[in-house]
């Protein structure tokens, strides 16, 4: 900054620079507030709507603030057996999928990052192609497969689907992290008699923890938020995950907007906390994982 000022000694420019430097302190936080509001605004509406009776949500003329504040909805939702079933499914599916993805992706990413072997290119290509498929585009095929295997309406079908479709991204991120570690680190361990598996668990994993954490949380969130496959494969109301379940609070037959929004908030909070937790790693994870 100083260099530029000295190089261009026009008094006008200098004064403007100083003025901006002073204004910057107030302008930037104000712009920040506007940006934050733009992204949070809809969710603020959600919170406000969860704090009023459903009849108040759908009453003309609409108001910003609740006409009647109703604090009991959250308690009602948490005491609702239907909601607890959906919550259980979401937890079960997201946790199991994440464990499977980590167990499967870590060895694959490590091996492809370190070892040149026949078929390596083909494998990485397969991973890349998988990234391009979404469960949505294959949903009919998935339905046929699980229908034939008699797995429609089971947790297993959903867990396997979530694992398979999040695998590519996890391998991708981890592959980047493993590649970024100098080979010499491992070779030293090798010379000390450490097996390849030992090198992975004792040396590489601790060094690439941010990558692993990023992959774990990404997978968990993706599985927690998955919608189409669960919508198609889970027919039993008690076995639906939150994403599918809570939409039944507002249908053609019943309209519990208050409960829909309260349940939504309960579903969003853990994910936002997890995300905030990796916020610092997020940038680094995306950098090492995908950007040169």
């Amino acid at each position: 900054m100083a260099v530029v000022t000295r190089a261009a000694p026009a008094p006008m420019g200098t004064r403007r620079k100083v003025g901006w430097a002073r204004a910057r302190r107030y302008v930037l936080p104000l712009v920040g507030l506007a940006v934050a509001l733009a992204f949070l605004g809809p969710y603020i509406v959600m919170v406000l709507n969860s704090l009023r009776p459903s009849s108040d949500v759908v009453q003309t003329p609409p108001t910003f603030l609740p006409r009647t504040w109703q604090w009991s909805t959250f308690g009602d939702v948490l005491g609702d057996q239907r909601f607890l079933n959906w919550l259980k499914t979401s937890l079960l599916v997201a946790t199991s999928s994440t464990i499977i993805v980590v167990l499967v992706a870590v060895p694959a990413a490590y091996f492809t990052a370190r070892v040149r072997f026949a078929g390596r290119t083909a494998f990485l290509f397969l991973v890349l192609i998988t990234q391009m498929f979404s469960p949505t585009s294959l949903v009919v095929g998935l339905y046929r497969e699980f229908f034939d295997l008699n797995l429609v309406n089971t947790y297993l079908a959903i867990i396997l689907t979530n694992s398979a479709f999040n695998l590519a991204f996890a391998i991708w991120i981890l592959h980047g992290f493993f590649s970024s570690i100098p080979k010499e680190v491992e070779e030293a361990a090798h010379l000390d008699g450490c097996s390849r598996f030992g090198t992975l668990t004792r040396i590489m994993l601790p060094l690439t923890m941010p990558g692993v954490v990023t992959a774990v949380i990404f997978t968990f969130i993706a599985a927690w938020n998955e919608y189409v496959v669960a919508l198609t494969l889970m027919l039993d109301d008690a076995k639906k995950p939150l994403t599918v379940g809570i939409t039944s609070y507002v249908t053609g037959y019943e309209q519990h907007w208050d409960q829909l929004f309260a349940a939504s908030i309960i579903a969003i909070i853990p994910v936002v906390i997890l995300f905030a937790f990796i916020e610092k790693h997020l940038v680094r994870g995306l950098t090492a994982g995908s950007i040169k």
Binding site: T60, M132, T161, L207, V228, L286, T287
Partner: protein, 338 residues
């Protein structure tokens, strides 16, 4: 193409990014000359047989083949089969399903919707995210809070956000109409989801809203990877801020731009919950993209035709493959031109 990951988006490696990656451990500084490293690698990895590889990659292959490739095969099989309305296979259908999709009266509308949806959402997302990322990279009071706020639409489930917007867009009770009429921007409420002129725009706004956070973060990562000395040098040479942005920041952001746009094209094309939820009460396929069109063919439409939906699914997969490959080719071609 030696390495597919590299071919598509460039593998991380000897880059500024790698310097910030977790590995700058003391051991990394151990010097080594190329030849001895090559020899050592051969002794270490030379004898890798396919069986050892299978041991490490087996579980991944099992999962990919079992739950991605096999359903894809099933999809192809279904596309050539005839199904009853309850989903029982009745026999071979030849190419009837494909012909039915191609001759479907809604296909032109659906294709046009898909193009508008993908192009507008991705383009505006990238533009807005560039600005947001530039802003987030600055240091100011409350930056952390802003970053957390931006995470929320990314973290929240798309269905939940979509459901929320059905209420925000509502003609009678919606907050958006309340704001617009209170500020006298419009004289009366707008039926964002019911009025055909507004439906697509309303969906696009939500599409951008949920895509910006991820994209902005990719750009922040890209901005962080640009070393400060590049900027210093430019400043010493007397470059003006917009010159620095145009000549230095944007070209160096190119890899991040590629990643962000490719992933966004894939995500937005495959996006289901927004279009499906916001468009819920409109009958027919007037505002559907190819993805929701396919889904409704099998599970929601009057036909409930699994075979036809599978054929549409195959078109979808091919379409996204072609789009991504063409996009990457064009980029590569441009790069060579430069």
């Amino acid at each position: 193409m030696a390495d597919p990951l590299q071919g598509a988006v460039a593998e991380p490696g000897s880059t500024p990014a790698a310097a910030t990656a977790p590995a700058a451990s003391p051991v990394g500084s151990a010097s080594s000359d190329g030849s001895s490293r090559g020899r050592r690698r051969r002794t270490l990895h030379g004898g890798t047989s396919i069986w050892v590889a299978l041991l490490w990659l087996g579980p991944a292959l099992l999962l990919i083949f079992g739950v991605v490739v096999f359903p894809a095969v099933q999809l192809v099989r279904a596309a050539f089969s005839k199904y009853s309305i309850t989903g029982l296979r009745l026999g071979d259908a030849g190419t009837t399903n494909f012909k039915n999709v191609l001759n479907h009266s809604s296909l032109p509308t659906v294709l046009a919707n898909t193009v508008i949806w993908v192009v507008v959402v991705v383009a505006l997302t990238v533009l807005i995210s560039l600005a947001v990322a530039q802003f987030l990279a600055k240091d100011f009071f409350g930056r952390k809070v802003v970053r957390w706020a931006i995470i929320v639409p990314w973290a929240a489930s798309l269905v939940i956000t979509a459901k929320l917007f059905t209420m925000i867009y509502d003609y009678y009770y919606g907050t958006l109409n309340l704001i617009l009429t209170t500020l006298h921007i419009t004289s009366g409420p707008i039926d964002f989801l019911g009025d055909d002129r507004w439906t697509m725009a309303s969906m696009i706004l939500v599409g951008i809203f949920v895509s910006v956070p991820f994209t902005a973060y990719v750009f922040v990562a890209g901005l962080n990877a640009i070393p400060d000395d590049v900027y210093e040098a430019a400043k010493i040479d007397g470059a003006r801020p917009w010159q620095i942005y145009w000549r230095i920041t944007l070209p160096l952001l190119r890899p991040a731009m590629v990643v962000a746009s490719v992933l966004n094209i894939i995500y937005v094309f495959n996006s289901f919950p927004i279009v499906y939820t916001l468009n819920d009460r409109n009958p027919g396929f007037l505002h559907d993209t190819t993805i929701t069109f396919m889904y409704k063919l099998a599970f929601k439409s009057a036909e409930k035709d699994v075979g036809m939906s599978a054929a549409a699914g195959i078109f979808n997969v091919l379409l996204i493959l072609i789009v991504v490959v063409v996009y990457l080719r064009t980029l590569k071609w441009q790069e060579q031109e430069d």
